[in-house]
Symmetry: C2
Subunit: 115 residues, 2 copies
């Protein structure tokens, strides 16, 4: 991920807040997890209705993705590669995760002029 | 922050997604920023209507806080220390930030049994 914030439109739109803690996994599994994460970012960005994404991981991982509709979120959930990643995530990678789906009603942006 | 995910109730509830990139700041300002962040976590957790928070910072920072109502979010925004932090953030610390306020309608939790 680069460090640009997602360029989202005037609300309303939808956000998926995905927060997770990895299990105690090997370096090899961590590599597979990272590779799959990169593939998923690429795939999600090609989905109809995808707007943007922001993601950070330390011990805790937070990925926020923005979507035009609940239907586009449902379609992404059922993407074949994404579904495979979900199975691997639950059997191999994650200790715990939460997915929260929410409708964005207000957005405030600050950007410093002299940057 | 510890690495526990926020323990949120059955939806609906509200989420504030705060994403940011710091400006090119000195180590001294970075320390002040970090100290203020810690103070704000403490203060927010004492607000009426506060449910929980998840936060990660690398180059990109994402803080997600959960609230019982829009009114509790408004009250937190006008907290005196928080308001001071907002001014410092805009004049000293942030290159850019976005705040998105959304209503959570669905939550999915996964937790591995053998952890």
């Amino acid at each position: 991920m680069n460090v640009e914030l997602a360029n989202t439109p005037e609300p309303p739109y939808y956000v998926v807040v995905f927060t997770s803690v990895l299990g105690n996994i090997s370096d090899q599994e961590l590599l597979k997890y990272t590779q799959m994460s990169n593939i998923l970012v690429e795939l999600a960005s090609k989905e109809t209705g995808f707007i943007g994404m922001e993601s950070v991981r330390n011990e805790l991982g937070i990925t926020v993705s923005y979507w035009e509709s609940l239907e586009s979120i449902r379609k992404w959930k059922s993407n074949v590669v994404h579904a495979k990643a979900q199975r691997l995530g639950e059997t191999k990678w994650y200790g715990t995760y939460k997915i929260r789906i929410a409708k964005v009603d207000k957005e405030i942006t600050f950007s410093r002029n002299h940057l």
